[in-house]
Structure formats: C-alpha cells, structure tokens
Assembly symmetry: C2
Homo-oligomer: 255 residues x 2
DNA sequence: CTCCCTTTGTGCGTGGGTTCACAAGCGTCT
DNA sequence: AGACGCTTGTGAACCCACGCACAAAGGGAG
C-alpha cells in the first residue's frame, strides 16, 4: 500500500555502470578515503597499500578493501593501489569529475561561514548564490557571492542549474525553504536545521544536527559519570595522563 | 605517532544504572526524539503515541518503541507516552539535566557561527570560551565570549571545568588542537576538521565533515544521471514497509 | 625460469540492528 | 462490572555489515 519507502538506513543502492550495489555506509566512507588519499598524494606517494590507507582513514584494512571492491577498483596484488588511478576512480564514483554549484539558503552566521569554507571549493563545490528572507541583506555580497531574496530562489537556481541546496535557516523556516528548493528543481538537500524535512520521493536529504552531536557526547559523559558513581566493580581512572595508553577502558569495544 | 585508536563505528555501549546496553545508533536517535518531543510539548501536547512521535522523528514506530524500551521508559498502554515524563527521561539519559560548558577552538567563520548558534543554548550547552592561534583575535569578544590564545587552553578549560571541546580549525592544526584538548582534561571532542583524529582510549570523538556530506549527495546525483543514461540495471526493492504515511520519503526511484 | 614474499580480493561466520507480529496491559463505553 | 479497542513492550526472524582468514596473483631475487 505504501508506494514509497522511508529513508532506508542500510539500504543498498545501485552502483554505476558496473552494476554492483553499493551499501550506503560504504558511500560515506568513500569520501573519507578520498580525503586521506589526497593527503597522501600531496605527500608525493604514488602507491599505497590498503593497510596504510586504512590507517589514515581510521578503519580496518579489510573493510577498506571490501569497500573499494564494490567499485571494481583494480589495485595491484603484491604492491598496493596506484594513487592517481584510485583517486580518479573515487572522484568519478562520487561524481566529482563534474563541478557542482550549490545554493545556500540563510545568510546568517552559519550560511556565511559555509560560503567561506574552503573545504567545499577543494572538492569542486562552489556556492553560486545565497538567499535570505531579510531584505536588508539583499544585494549584499559575501565573499563575492550575492545575496538574493528568497522569492528569487527558483529563478536563480534554474538559471545557474543548481541541483544541490543547503538549508541554513531557523527550524521554523526550514520546511518552507526545502519546499522552495524542491520546487526549483533541486534534488539534493543538506539540512542544518533541527527538523525532519518532508520531501517528495527522489529527493536526497542529509541531515546535520549540531546540537544532536553534542547530545551524543553528553550521553557518553553521563554514562561515564554513572559508571564511576554507583556502578559496582568498575575501574576507570579519571583523566590521568594523555600519553599513556590504558588498555583497560571499556568505553568502547570492538574493531 | 598515534598508538591510539580511532572512533568506533558500531559499538554497543553500556547503559546507565539499569545496566542495559544501548546501541550507538539508538543514542543518536534519542536526540532526534527529544527534538520532536519538544516541538510537541510546545504545541501543548500532554501525551503522544509512538506512531505520532515516530512520524515527527522520521522513523518507524516499532523502532522508536524499541529505542525507548532500552531506557526502561514507561509509557501507558492504550494511551501513549506522557510528554513531560518522557521528556525528562530523555534529558536525563542524554545528560542534559546538567548544564554543559563547551570550548570552541578556532575563531574563524565556523567558530563564530557556532558561538551564535542558538540550538546549543536551547539544549543546555553554552560556549564558555573561544580559542585561536591568531594573536589579533585575542582579547576580542564574540557575543560576549572571550577569545583566548590557544596556549591558555589547558588553564582556561580546567578553570571552567570544560569537558567538551569543539575543533573548528583547519585540517593541519586539528590534531594538535585535539591533543591540547585532551591534555586539558577534555574527554569529548566534536571535530569539524576533515581529518581523522587520533585520541587515547576513553575520549569520544564525533566527526562532522561538511564536504563529505556534499560528496554523498553528489554520489547520488551521479548515480541517478548514470541511471537515466544507458544503464540497463535498475531495480528498486519493492519492500512494502509498515510505515503507512510517512512524511519523509527519500527513496530514489527510477522510471 | 622458478621460488618466495607481499598484497589484493573475497567467501564465510558472527553479531548487531531493523522489522514484523503478537501478547500484555490500560482506559473506556455500555 | 465486563468486554472491547487501542497502544505499549518485546520475542523472534531477517538482513546487512563487519572482520577473519585464505586463495589468487603480481613482482623481485636467485
């Protein structure tokens, strides 16, 4: 009965030409691998082993090899991966072979910070336009990016061929902005507002909730505090030296 | 460098007094539930069903109930959850019963935006101090928050009892800043720099990589483009979910 | 040319997470 | 008071994902 599904957490998405399905979790890590690979490339490395790259990415080497195998990447056995080749492959897979223009909605502190964030430009993302509801900001330019009234969103986006929108407005306005973006032909939305956005099928939404991140950290703080207090038979040395690696810390296991 | 481990992906952490293990994935969602619950509470709701709250949070109702059951929450069968009671329970679990002071390192665009972000204050997080390496910023105050030289990090953090640090500096400086934070007694780090931080065991790190988020969106764009072109392989899992009318639909449909 | 060392690629076992489906419990209407 | 309907809580199956460990394969030395 339900024609559409909800956000599939562990959904398997189709790969590209090769036709291999790529787990969603892997996609996120590909970006991490790309980052690490760029660092290594700048360091002059021409080949890299899965062990090295995995260490630089903070994952296990087996996981990395499996992730890379999804996109049929060819490393050389006994040697490792050719850095420029793998780099090109990752960029192609992530769609970075083409320049992307994004629209940032909300010219507040966060929106302006995003315009100035050089991590975007370094990956081929450029902010083509800023939008805001406040008329006093209109016509202003932030680092060369003009601020438009929000009513012009559709027109400007279509004119610039923008397909990625960033929502950096207060929670109350987020859904409205999202609707406008979708109406303007945007199919990918990066949302910083602390609300769950409703979108038609086919639109990709990624949520970045800063307060939630802090709350997760807070949870771990509280858990540790509770452990020290009433939980019997537990041993955690408070703080202590940073240099020493304590083998006995049960905060997190696995890996 | 770095005999230390990195952030663990899917680890099961110990719960609180009750001793029930709480999945890491659940913890993240608890923050989302709290958000949705606050909205409902402001709307005057006194009870809420799992179906309603799930819809407002963008998840399935069964998942929500299971998540809530981890913290031994008491709903009333046939009625739903008591909003103020559940709200208090969530805040307690997430450690929000106590005010948290965080340190933001990096007084650039992002750092300043974080100071002004009201989503923090609304959840009991206050920025107690800013730090930066640039001497011209020292002594300045951003929205009443003083900017200190980075050398004073340990002293100020200890004086204010800061246990959460936010890294908002360029990638090159991130590891150094992280080390300083850890040395200052910080046990939780929120990292915006595009690097994998090495930390001693017991230190929680959460990574927010804005460029990576955009790359994931870019991947989906590229995938869709490849699909439209000549790719013979489309297949979307039909999978009729239990969710009847979920507002959030971000499936990627072909044809 | 052959042997050996190194590293990739992957089949499989295990474990965690998500979903389904149902029993238990609470309120309410008659 | 008794029965009915609604909602929670959870037991169990499914499914993905992670990690181990090994076979396949390339390069270099002798």
């Amino acid at each position: 009965m339900s024609p559409h599904r909800v956000s599939p957490p562990g959904a398997v998405v189709l790969g590209e030409r090769g036709g291999r399905p790529v787990p969603e979790a892997t996609i996120v890590r590909l970006a991490v691998y790309l980052r690490a690979l760029c660092s290594l490339a700048e360091g002059g490395a021409t080949v890299v082993s899965s062990e090295e790259l995995a260490a630089a990415s903070g994952v296990g080497s087996a996981k990395l090899r499996k992730d890379l195998s999804f996109l049929g990447s060819h490393g050389t056995r006994g040697v490792g991966y050719d850095v420029p080749r793998l780099l090109a492959r990752l960029e192609l897979t992530l769609g970075l072979d083409r320049a992307h223009v994004v629209a940032v909605v909300g010219a507040g502190n966060l929106g302006r910070a995003l315009v100035g964030y050089d991590g975007f430009a370094r990956r081929g993302f450029t902010v083509g336009a800023l939008f805001d509801a406040d008329p006093t900001t209109h016509g202003e330019a932030v680092l060369g990016v003009p601020v438009h009234p929000i009513e012009d969103l559709a027109a400007v986006c279509r004119h610039l061929g923008i397909t990625i929108g960033v929502v950096a407005v207060p929670a109350e306005a987020a859904q409205d902005v999202c609707d406008r973006l979708v109406a303007a032909g945007t199919t990918c939305v990066l949302n910083f507002a602390p609300v769950v956005l409703a979108t038609p099928p086919g639109v990709q939404v990624r949520q970045v909730d800063l307060a939630a991140e802090l709350q997760v950290l807070s949870f771990h703080l509280a858990r540790r505090a509770a452990e020290v207090l009433g939980d019997g038979a537990h041993e955690i040395d408070p703080a202590a030296g940073a240099g020493a690696q304590d083998p006995r810390t049960k905060t997190v296991v696995s890996t």
